[in-house]
Symmetry: C2
Subunit: 224 residues, 2 copies
């Protein structure tokens, strides 16, 4: 009983801080996306492409979450308006970003000069589903080599996603992946999720992602 | 302070149960391997190949760990001597198998008729590194499409691995993966780890994995 109570407290505290984060973001008219995936599915690649394509239209900042290392932040640094690295190693709950980490990171960012905040979560399909960060939208990236059964095996993260990206479409001839089966699994869990098939490597399908972001930013600004 | 204390208690309790599991396994002369990887790296494929190749020499049982679903256990069922499925969804710490789950699973297995126990952990490169299960050896599978930077980003799971498998070598012409860089990162963290490059799809390099297992089983039996 004791243990469960502590965990519930952690989740409740996280929820409170996440709401505060979103209020701060709204005050500065910043739209935030929480990008989640298994290790190596292409979160950093997608972020790099997004900045390259949209940086003339939106001022983009990035928060990079990793257990260890700064390799992703270094890749993003020259492109983004601002970057903050969070390393979760040695923290008690180290398998996901949490709202309190984002609260600290927001203090390091020039909030009046940002339109879009991309938050790269830790590579994990389990823990990040439990912790909201204050983001406006949640995106999950699957990649073809992981197989089409991921929504069945990790349902929670797909249930709450606003968009599900299938990356590495260029590998379709070389791996076993049933797109119809994947689509049907996602829709069974979450009929409202936008499903976007693309390849960061070849650029195939990626324009639909840019359009999705621009539409979300616009819709959010209209609500504020 | 309170929260950290609870987590330490969880890890200590896990360690105690893991030791008890290993004593039980040793009593029955069973060799156990904990197989860990990111989602979709090929744990189930490797297990299926291993059973097909070694089932005439070793009586093999499998414990399948998943957040949700029984798809992997169903794939393995017809091949293995015995299979137990553990679903961790709805458990407080749901991002890894834990020793207590294995203790329950061992009660469901015909321990006198097993030589080798393959434990497929939950697809995750973070949490499983913290929880020993009572296994004799720990194996981490990386796969080429995940990229060569995984040891840098998820060091803990590589530090404790006895063997590191690089799966999906058949995709080498189609993805960016620097084998020398990967090898050097693993060796920097863990010079003793055996590194095995293979493809479950084509069978390339997989014989070295079978030899590794047979040698480990033999060495362990000689020690008992």
């Amino acid at each position: 009983m004791k243990k469960i109570e502590v965990i519930q407290n952690v989740l409740e505290a996280n929820e409170t801080i996440a709401k505060r984060n979103q209020q701060l973001l709204n005050k500065h008219r910043i739209f935030a996306i929480n990008i989640m995936s298994a290790p190596g599915a292409g979160k950093t690649s997608l972020i790099l492409h997004t900045i390259a394509k949209l940086k003339d239209r939106l001022r983009i900042a990035v928060i990079e979450g990793d257990v260890a290392s700064t390799v992703d932040a270094e890749k993003v640094q020259s492109e983004a308006k601002a970057v903050v690295q969070i390393n979760t190693r040695n923290m008690p709950e180290s398998c996901s970003l949490m709202a309190a980490m984002i609260e600290s990171a927001l203090k390091e960012l020039p909030l009046d000069n940002i339109d879009l905040l991309l938050i790269e979560n830790v590579g994990n399909l389990i823990c990040p589903s439990e912790f909201t960060l204050g983001e406006h939208k949640r995106v999950v990236i699957s990649s073809l080599p992981e197989g089409d059964d991921k929504p069945i095996k990790y349902p929670l993260i797909f249930i709450d996603a606003d968009a599900v990206i299938v990356n590495k479409m260029d590998l379709l001839p070389y791996v076993d992946f049933d797109i119809a089966a994947f689509r049907s699994s996602v829709q069974g869990l979450n009929p409202k999720a936008e499903i976007l098939l693309l390849s960061c490597k070849t650029g195939e399908g990626i324009d639909r992602w840019y359009s999705w972001i621009l539409k979300q930013v616009e819709t959010n600004l209209a609500k504020l």
